[in-house]
């Protein structure tokens, strides 16, 4: 970078002398900044163009691959493991990241986040307060309603992001009834997740037999954070018990699965947040409005294996329940037809309560 030649020598000499003396005292002018700490120019330009929507892949072939991958996931029980099992799905359209207090959408790939303890304490306290007057419904059937998304291909080959509204009834015998239907496309800001429509024109029902799911799993879990961690690590058969990234990811996946499948009591929700307080790798992303427009608090952990994914939990500051989970590709993956950063999956939890009956088939 040229510094121009219009300055008198006396001014230039004085300034250069100052810079040399300051450097000799140990001041750093940026020469020693680790290059890897900062984005490359190419990545920065690509990010800005991506954020501006300059690059919107929309090939028919790619969109079809997306639908095939998502339908493969949606068809099986693996849907209960949510984001952890959707990593092999390519992405045709980019879904806007949410803007978090400590990680705006354009910096979601590398924002460091902040110490999670206050956020986790706040969520735990909200759950504690909710325990005094819980609103869990009544009955023995656990009812869950969530909103996820996938890409849909039109006749002309264009694709769009469409949420999938899913209802699930988990009976005491472990039988599971699910009903899925298409929701309205999300708005440009990535929000618009909404409860199921009464008419449900495209509903697809599925009934899985007794014993499919351990219906008492959530109720059987201890509410001591340390014992809860042990129980969840046992359940997922985690390959490491030592505090560290492997254990943290095991717990993340178990927490997602727990809230996706079961009605979680306020006591268990509080224990969950307190449990994560003692684990490594979680950071707070601060306040956020979730896909349904609700106020939330974001927590995130980055996949320790290759650093390619940022996984996000969004907790409800009003009652300590889970509002949603998101998965963001933050580094390009040669095996995926997607440019980082991009949201690869989200689920917004819309209803969680006990009901008396499973709907008749």
């Amino acid at each position: 970078m040229s510094t121009g030649g219009r300055d008198d020598h006396a001014h230039v000499d004085e300034l250069e002398a100052f810079r040399r003396e300051a450097a000799a005292l140990g001041f750093d002018d940026g020469q020693d900044v680790d290059e890897a700490r900062l984005e490359s120019a190419d990545d920065f330009i690509a990010r800005m163009r991506s954020a501006a929507g300059d690059e919107r892949p929309s090939s028919r072939r790619r969109a079809r691959r997306v639908v095939a991958a998502v339908l493969a996931v949606a068809a099986g029980v693996a849907v209960f493991f949510g984001v952890a099992h959707r990593q092999d799905a390519a992405v045709a359209e980019s879904l806007p990241s949410l803007d978090y207090e400590f990680a705006s959408a354009v910096r979601i790939a590398y924002a460091g986040g902040e110490d999670p303890r206050t956020t986790l304490d706040s969520l735990a306290a909200a759950a504690d307060a909710d325990a005094a007057d819980p609103d869990e419904g009544s009955g023995a059937v656990q009812y869950k309603q969530s909103d996820s998304w996938f890409a849909e291909v039109d006749e002309d080959g264009s694709s769009s992001i469409v949420p999938r509204v899913r209802e699930a009834w988990l009976a005491p015998d472990g039988s599971l009834t699910t009903r899925e239907t298409l929701g309205a496309p999300l708005r440009a800001d990535g929000r618009g997740a909404a409860p199921v429509r009464p008419d449900r024109p495209d509903a697809v029902d599925e009934r899985l037999p007794a014993g499919t799911v351990d219906a008492d799993f959530a109720r059987s879990l201890p509410t001591s954070p340390a014992r809860l961690a042990d129980a969840l690590l046992d359940h997922i058969e985690c390959e490491s018990r030592a505090v560290g990234p492997v254990r943290s990811m095991c717990l993340y996946r178990e927490v997602v699965s727990l809230f996706e499948t079961h009605v979680v009591s306020p006591e268990l929700a509080a224990a969950t947040w307190r449990m994560l307080r003692d684990e490594q790798g979680f950071v707070s992303l601060g306040s956020v409005k979730d896909r349904a427009g609700r106020a939330g608090l974001g927590l995130s952990i980055i996949d320790p294996e290759n650093g390619r994914y940022r996984y996000i939990l969004i907790g409800d500051p009003s009652d300590g329940q889970m509002l949603g989970v998101e998965e963001i590709l933050i580094k390009d993956d040669p095996s995926l037809d997607a440019k980082a950063p991009t949201v690869t999956a989200f689920t917004a939890f819309l209803e969680s309560r006990y009901v008396k009956d499973v709907p008749a088939g």
Binding site: M1, S2, T3, G4, R6, D7, D8, H9, A10, H11, V12, D13, E14, L15, E16, A17, F18, R19, R20, E21, A22, A24, L25, G26, F27, D28, D29, G30, Q31, D32, V33, E35, R37, L38, E39, A41, D42, F44, I45, M48, E101, F102, V106, R107, Y110, A111, G112, E114, D115, P116, R117, T118, T119, S122, S284, G286
Partner: protein, 179 residues
């Protein structure tokens, strides 16, 4: 400014901007300052002056505002007392000279500078800024800037002696001009 020019500007200035910001807000927040600064540059790239020599001053001016916003954000959040970093890691002060990039000794010296001296130091030490543009960033004449830099050199020597930090050998002006 086309992509190639923007890339060259980014590559030339991202590290100096990081060092500039890290001295005030710490190395981690400085990464955000770098990004936010160049996000503004990107949006305004068509408004940059045709004279490329003037570009670093524009970037420094934007970075200066981003650092100020970060300090204001911390102050505001400190009063809210809602989130964790406010409480533990960094006290809310304009004297956050805790960059890991500067030596411990130089941080000690920097802490002794007045706010005005720190501001002058940050701009003057930004490599790639010629005197006329550094003066423009500060809103003063080039002559006044050079005078203040001269005083700041002496101030650094005095502080070096007072704090026991081994100081640099003063560079003789005449020797400099000859070379």
């Amino acid at each position: 400014m086309d992509d190639e020019e923007f890339g060259a500007l980014y590559d030339a200035l991202k590290r100096p901007v990081h060092a500039f910001a890290a001295r005030r807000v710490g190395p981690e927040a400085a990464k955000d300052v770098v990004s936010e600064t160049f996000e503004v540059v990107w949006r305004k790239r068509d408004e940059f002056p045709p004279d490329r020599a003037a570009w670093p001053a524009w970037v420094v001016g934007i970075a200066k505002n981003k650092v100020l916003q970060e300090l204001q954000r911390r102050t505001r959040k400190h009063h809210d007392n809602r989130f964790a970093q406010d409480w533990t890691v960094e006290p809310v002060t304009d004297d956050t000279s805790h960059s890991v990039l500067d030596s411990v000794e130089s941080q000690q010296i920097y802490r002794e500078l007045t706010p005005a001296e720190k501001h002058l130091f940050d701009v003057a030490f930004f490599r790639d800024l010629p005197p006329s543009q550094a003066a423009a960033v500060l809103g003063i004449s080039t002559s006044a800037f050079t005078t203040r830099v001269s005083r700041l050199r002496q101030r650094l020597r005095d502080l070096s002696e007072a704090t026991g930090v081994p100081g640099p050998r003063p560079v003789a002006d005449t020797e400099e001009r000859i070379s």
